[in-house]
């Protein structure tokens, strides 16, 4: 009997096979990470309860957007460029303006007693014809105002930006900053603002 030689498998085409697989995965998968503005919707009100929350007029910051993407802020026409500063001024009320939200003295960890416009509400109302781009821009500017104020405060007190206050050990600090600059954004029940 002749001894049979064990033939080696030709591995020359291995690279081609691997290339084929590689190209398949390149085509059929995506790498993009999804990022965007995270918000929380208010829960649906129960129908039996007709809730009327009493908020004083000076504590509400009304932002109306009409179908032509024009802004009406506190009854005045405004360019979107000025919205960020207007929001900051509303939240802080630096000059104790009687038309801006009332301040209350609140005892906060790390900071001690602070004057906070605790009961302010930012109310965004839009028309069904408002463009989505404008809506996102308004959301973005108001978030930016709040984030900048929080960053400033956090920078001054802790020396780091607010978003860098991460982890369990910084939770108290985060809560303190959030207590001084709360995020109270209300989106009205849908209705036609018109325009």
């Amino acid at each position: 009997m002749a001894r049979r030689e064990i033939q080696e498998i030709n591995a020359g085409s291995m690279a081609d096979i691997a290339f084929l697989l590689l190209i398949f995965f390149l085509v059929s998968t995506t790498m993009d990470t999804d990022s965007g503005i995270l918000t929380k919707l208010p829960p649906m009100p129960e129908e039996t309860k007709d809730e009327q929350v009493d908020v004083k007029e000076r504590n509400i910051f009304v932002v109306l957007v009409n179908r032509n993407d024009q802004l009406l802020v506190e009854g005045e026409l405004m360019n979107i460029k000025d919205l960020r500063e207007a929001t900051k001024e509303f939240i802080l009320n630096p000059n104790n303006d009687p038309n801006l939200p009332a301040k209350e003295i609140v005892e906060v960890d790390y900071f001690g007693p602070m004057e906070v416009t605790k009961k302010h509400v930012i109310s965004i109302q839009n028309d069904r014809g408002t463009s989505y781009e404008m809506y996102i821009a308004v959301q973005n500017e108001i978030s930016a105002a709040i984030n900048e104020l929080r960053d400033n405060l956090s920078m001054k007190k802790f020396g780091v930006k607010f978003e860098e206050l991460t982890g369990d050990e910084n939770e108290k600090k985060r809560e303190a900053v959030e207590a001084i600059i709360p995020r109270n954004i209300s989106e009205a029940e849908p209705k036609n603002v018109g325009g």
């Binding site: 591995a11 291995m14 990470t33």
Partner: protein, 160 residues
């Protein structure tokens, strides 16, 4: 003197390609690990709005996607913005079932963490978005994400 002079023809040695499959396999595994399969075939036109106060979505398994935009196939479906769930067009009242199905597919502990990512074309009017938001509230899927590109929205708006 002739230390550096070597006589004879120099033969060019071919580069060995024996390790090529290994290199390609390495690339393959890299892509397999870092990417995810495409979820759906887009049926609507989607060009995201821009914003700069964005956060990254952490866990892809917990995210469901809703697309809103003008249909790509204008001749068949017209130009009115439509909602796309999974691989087909849907009406707003189908969202509740969609959310329920997605929620069913998650582990019990993960259900409260479920996020709905709204991928909405920037030209869409708010009417349909409001309808979708109302349906999401009814389905108590309250954590939502407006998917955006990174950039300054004011610059984008003042362009037109």
């Amino acid at each position: 003197m002739s230390k550096f002079k070597k006589g004879g023809k120099k033969s060019v040695t071919g580069i060995t390609t024996a390790s090529l499959p290994d290199i390609i396999f390495m690339l393959l595994f890299f892509f397999m690990v870092t990417t995810v399969m495409r979820e759906v075939d887009l049926k609507v036109y989607y060009s995201p709005a821009t914003a700069n106060q964005t956060k990254k979505l952490e866990d892809k398994a917990l995210v469901s996607y809703i697309y809103i935009g003008k249909p790509l196939n204008k001749k068949v479906f017209g130009t009115v913005p439509r909602i796309q769930l999974n691989d087909s067009f849907a009406e707003p009242d189908e969202i509740r079932d969609f959310i329920a199905a997605k929620r069913e597919g998650l582990q019990e502990v993960d259900r409260p963490k479920m996020t709905v990512s709204l991928k909405i074309d920037k030209k869409v009017e708010m009417g349909i978005v409001t309808d979708v938001k109302q349906e999401l509230r009814k389905a108590s899927a309250l954590k939502i994400n407006y998917s955006t590109n990174e950039g300054d929205p004011i610059k984008e708006i003042s362009k037109h």
